[in-house]
């Protein structure tokens, strides 16, 4: 069962349900009573994206489609990828990106929707020896949209992959990343940030599989949920037999700003090798009322103080974005989201 087959066939019984342990907090079967029709083509105007002006070239898919991008050996590019949903239909996209040896890519990606669409985006990334890729994904979904993203990354030795997934959620949203990590000199940074308000839901699920010696992973996800929003974080790190001396760190920290906001979190380490350093930290808390009073006593109105403290909380993740322009766009996005919400 998968969303992809449900989109293809239009059969709701194909949707992932809470019976599947991995989907228990992001049930689609119980949510969708009838499948929407297939999305139609769109030839209207598309406004500039959040990363406009930062990329060499924009690749735009509206209401589905397929795309393959190859960055040749030793080349260096900054590319925009925009996955846009218009209307209330169902569709899927499939994008493949191949980086040849020593290729470098900054992938600045946005996903947005303007209605109750049902979408699956599949992204496959293959990185050859010494290739380097930074992906910054900013998701601006409609409150009624359902969006499932599945990203699969395969690293070769010496490859360097960094990812920052930033989202404000949707009616139901699942952003999955699976990484196959060969160890050696390959580097992996997997980050996420969510700013959820209203009834938004967002699920960031990651699976990193270390299969070789001396692999390192750094993972940091932080988020803020207010109103009746629901955040889900599932992070799994698997260290297979023989992947000795793996060093993997996973952290997830959440702020819940209302009594009705909810967080479901499941960090998992599965270790079948010797001499490994794996750690996970997972915290959830409310806003520090003492710090809030301190800021107000200095003259900062409460709503502004709350936004400032939440922005600072998320800032730790955004500061790790290497691409300067993308980092600034991400900070602007967070600031905008928090001032709208406060």
């Amino acid at each position: 069962m998968s969303l992809l087959s449900a989109i293809r066939t239009g059969d709701v019984t194909e949707l992932p349900s809470r019976r599947d342990e991995d989907w228990r907090w992001s049930d689609l079967r119980g949510l969708v009573r009838t499948m929407p029709g297939l999305s139609s083509g769109f030839d209207g105007e598309i406004p500039a994206g959040r990363f406009a002006g930062l990329v060499d070239e924009d690749h735009v898919l509206v209401n589905g489609g397929e795309l393959t991008l190859t960055i040749g050996a030793g080349q260096s590019r900054t590319l925009g990828l925009r996955l846009i949903s218009r209307g209330e239909g169902r569709h899927s996209t499939r994008v493949s990106i191949n980086l040849e040896a020593g290729a470098q890519l900054a992938l600045l990606e946005t996903q947005d929707s303007d209605g109750a669409s049902l979408v699956q985006n599949t992204l496959t990334i293959e990185m050859a020896v010494g290739a380097k890729l930074e992906r910054v994904l900013l998701v601006d979904d409609h409150a009624m949209a359902i969006n499932v993203g599945q990203t699969t990354v395969s690293l070769a030795p010496g490859a360097d992959y960094g990812q920052s997934v930033l989202t404000s959620g949707a009616r139901r949203q699942r952003l999955e990343t699976h990484v196959s990590h060969p160890g050696g000199e390959a580097q992996l940074r997997l980050d996420g940030a969510y700013l959820l308000a209203g009834k938004a839901h967002s699920d960031q699920t990651t699976v990193v599989t270390h299969t070789g010696l001396d692999g390192a992973t750094r993972q940091l996800t932080k988020g803020v949920a207010r109103d009746q929003a629901r955040a889900v974080f599932q992070g799994r790190i698997v260290v297979t037999e023989g992947a000795d001396r793996t060093d993997a760190r996973m952290a997830h920290h959440a702020l819940l700003l209302s009594d009705q906001a909810e967080l479901d979190s499941k960090p998992e380490l599965e270790i079948y090798a010797d001499d490994v350093a794996c750690a996970h930290g997972n915290t959830v808390g409310a806003m520090d009322e003492d710090a809030l009073f301190y800021a107000c006593q200095r003259g900062i109105p409460e709503s502004l103080a709350r936004a400032m403290l939440a922005e600072a909380f998320i800032g730790e993740v955004l500061d790790r974005i290497v691409h300067e322009g993308a980092r600034e766009a991400a900070l602007a996005w967070a600031s905008e989201r928090l001032s709208v919400a406060s």
């Binding site: 003492d290 009073f293 800021a295 107000c296 200095r298 003259g299 109105p301 502004l304 403290l309 600072a312």
Partner: protein, 248 residues
């Protein structure tokens, strides 16, 4: 001028301030001394509007304007500044950003325009210099990883930048070594001005060697039980607070 009249306040349903009256004219520095549990810190929180400190009677005004009906940020914009006994750490917000946000929020509340970035930085540099604060420290997250002395210096820095008309110093000397105490006291003394009232809350007379008060009040059992000149502080240092003990 700060005017407090028959103020009563409670915390968690327990009365702490029980009919406190006090006037601090502009230009004067008044010290409040008293034993542990007398209500000294409670008074500072009641005046600044902290949640959980409930006023049950009386009034407090600054330059004729009622304070008790305002929220904490509005009181700050009217000129109330509390130097915290334990200044909070604000992770992720550089000190300069925090203070500039505060300054502009106060100016906005008073109907004034924002201060320009160059003007702000110029002033910040000059104030930091006089308080022997390394300017690079102001680019770090406010108070995060700062020593006790650095945090207190940051309080004085904020005071000097925000130019309040009522300064409340809550146990400013706690955790300071003698050099830091001197720097902090000099900073406070430099802020003495004919249009500013200061309320110095302290356990010990030591701080008052450096910040000379015009009047000294003894707070015990939620009331001012004695007032006098600077010599009262010296006497308290000698005889202690026993004679003000409130029967349980």
């Amino acid at each position: 001028m700060l005017k407090i009249d028959n103020l009563q306040a409670e915390v968690g349903g327990k009365p702490i301030i029980k009919g406190l009256s006090l006037e601090v004219p502009s230009g004067e520095v008044h010290a409040i001394m008293g034993p542990n549990g007398a209500g000294k810190s409670t008074l500072s929180y009641v005046l600044t509007g902290r949640q959980g400190y409930e006023v049950t009677g009386g009034s407090a005004s600054l330059n004729g304007e009622d304070l008790l009906s305002l929220d904490p940020a509005e009181r700050a914009a009217k000129g109330v500044f509390l130097s915290f006994q334990y200044p909070l750490e604000i992770p992720g917000v550089p000190a300069l950003t925090f203070i500039r946000t505060a300054l502009n929020a106060q100016r906005k509340a008073r109907g004034e325009g924002e201060i320009s970035a160059p003007d702000f930085l110029k002033r910040a540099r000059s104030v930091a210099g006089s308080l022997k604060i390394d300017f690079d420290m102001l680019k770090r997250a406010l108070n995060v990883g700062f020593s006790g002395g650095e945090k207190k210096r940051m309080e004085i820095f904020q005071m000097a930048m925000l130019e309040p008309s009522l300064l409340i110093l809550d146990e400013t000397d706690s955790g300071l070594d003698i050099d830091a105490l001197k720097i902090v006291s000099e900073g406070v003394n430099a802020l003495r001005s004919p249009d500013r009232s200061m309320l110095v809350i302290t356990h010990y007379q030591r701080l008052l060697d450096h910040i000379r008060p015009d009047r000294v009040h003894v707070l015990a059992g939620g009331r001012i039980v004695e007032s006098g000149g600077p010599e009262l502080a010296l006497e308290l240092e000698r005889v202690g607070y026993d004679k003000y003990a409130v029967p349980a």
